[in-house]
Symmetry: none
Subunit: 305 residues, 2 copies
DNA sequence: CCTGTGCATAATCTGAGGTTATGCCCCTCA
DNA sequence: TGAGGGGCATAACCTCAGATTATGCACAGG
């Protein structure tokens, strides 16, 4: 127990004292503190008894600080101002620390950017540094990443994870393409179309061959009209009417909603995996990162589909 | 309300935090604060929630301060240390300002207390420590007494003195006693009455024998019905109708005014001495002592009689 | 004189902060 | 490996420090 407590049994007495001293009125202090005047009267009396110091001179129409009261008021105010400054600056530092987040380019462009305005509105103090990455095996601590997304079962050592969206993949194309080259009745029909694919250097994603085989379409030789280096490329090419791409449910959501892309078939493929929000377990999360994580989860990407 | 309160709803949270941070253990802090461990756990959690800062890292066998926690601990400790120092120094100064006065019990009870309210009203900032003493030969410096009263000629080495009231002594009794046992016509009649006397161990005061001899009443054998240990006792017995006491003019003044005591004879005895206010000459007087001395003189005890 | 203001006091109330019981996770030791 | 101990977290419940309401007193001002 700090020795101050032996002199001031409740530090809250000092809150009350500071208000009364500043306002030079127990009644005004009571209003400010949202308590009754007798509560202030009693608290000040308790403080005076505890310290043995007479802090106020009470005249019936005037309240004045004694010399001791003035000294204590000045010092209390300075101590409180200082503590307020310290906590505020710690908070500011904490919340204004740049939150480093890392996602695939497709996620950033197709999902996050269209929604980021909402996050900024809700948390104007949080700064995000958004990095695009083409890898899933990042060491979050080593690369100083506060938050990322990863496809999988959510069980990774040294990682905290939160399920974000189920992996569901389906063919997509532009309405114009479908009008010109359709209709498409079954998955096997896709073999007669320009299929847009992508291959990433550091990451394997479900491609046309696997998708077709999972829909009982035997693939002897697959003609690859275009091969892009990421999902973003193939999806944007689809939007431009250059063929049919494989689209991840959450990534194509906005294009479909806007009518820029349509689903030529009902069929889709669910891998049983999900995209998870991940954060490093080895250190306390930045406040901003927590806020961003919570906001991501709130978006309910599964429910939105 | 100070803005700190918006960040820390109860300043007592900081008492708890400081102890936990210093001890690096909620359990040890709880013991120190005389509360239970869950109380500390909850309080720290409340503080963390209120500030939005994670102050401790909890491992199951270790408790560590975060960087924020360390900063806040350091600043809180300094603020508390400073406030403790301020209050302590104010207290020390205050105790230096306490005026220590020493009077006989009869003077305190019969003269000072009925009038003290007036002094407090005029000098609310002056604190008196009133001691009752049965000696006239106190060493003011050694006994740390700022002001006292002494019967004599006012000439004592190392002492500043101010004449307070002439010594004048007269018989007093209650109105009932006089009605029942009176009338008394001359001093010699007193020998037929119950005379109340007192003897103090360390101080000689004029008694019945001397009073009677100074009024030409030969005293062969003096019957002492009651002997008290101070003037207060004999005067209060007179008020209760148990006999006739010798009363000092200033001490009986209020009883006579109130009709609780009467003067059965016109005769009184003036010793030529006076009660003096005395203060030590060896050190400068406290302001409060001067104010009290001035107030005592203002009462004009001689004029009031 | 009357009315309004503001601090003090007493009786009573209540919710912030405490308790008790328990759980979980670690570590140590036999 | 299992038992026991230590320490923080949580939930249900408790209680008294600090709050309220009602009233009194002393002033100031009209």
């Amino acid at each position: 127990m700090h020795r101050l407590r032996s002199l001031v049994p409740s530090a809250n007495y000092l809150f009350c004292f500071e208000a009364a001293a500043r306002r030079r009125s127990f009644t005004a202090a009571a209003q400010e503190l949202n308590v009754s005047q007798p509560a202030v009267s009693k608290t000040i009396r308790l403080l005076e008894e505890a310290t043995g110091l007479k802090l106020f001179r009470r005249d019936h129409t005037r309240l004045e600080l004694t010399a001791e009261g003035q000294r204590l008021y000045k010092e209390t105010q300075e101590a409180f101002d200082h503590l307020h400054m310290v906590i505020s600056s710690l908070q500011k530092k904490h919340s204004n620390d740049v939150v480093r987040v890392s996602f695939s380019a497709s996620f950033v462009q197709l999902w996050l950017l269209p929604r980021l305005k909402d996050f900024k509105a809700k948390h104007p103090d949080v700064s995000l540094r958004i990095e695009e990455s083409s890898r899933d095996d990042q060491d979050l601590v080593e690369e100083d990443i506060d938050l990322s997304a990863r496809l999988g079962n959510g069980k990774w050592p040294g990682i905290h994870s939160w399920r974000f969206v189920t992996e569901e993949v389906m063919p997509v194309c532009s309405p114009d393409y479908l009008r010109e080259h359709g209709p498409i009745h079954e998955p096997a029909d896709l073999l007669r179309h320009a299929l847009l694919n992508f291959e990433e250097r550091h990451r394997t994603r479900l491609g046309w061959r696997e998708w077709l085989e999972r829909h009982a379409v035997p693939v002897a030789r697959l003609k690859q009209d275009f091969v892009f280096t990421d999902a973003l490329g193939s999806i944007e090419a689809a939007v431009l009417g250059q063929g049919i791409a494989l689209g991840w449910k959450h990534l194509i959501h906005d294009h479909v909603q806007a009518g820029r892309l349509v689903l030529p078939l009902r069929e889709s493929y669910r891998s049983g995996q999900a995209v998870h929000i991940i954060m490093p377990a080895q250190r306390p999360p930045k406040r901003g990162a927590e806020l961003f994580r919570d906001w991501l989860i709130e978006q309910d990407a599964d429910g939105a589909a």
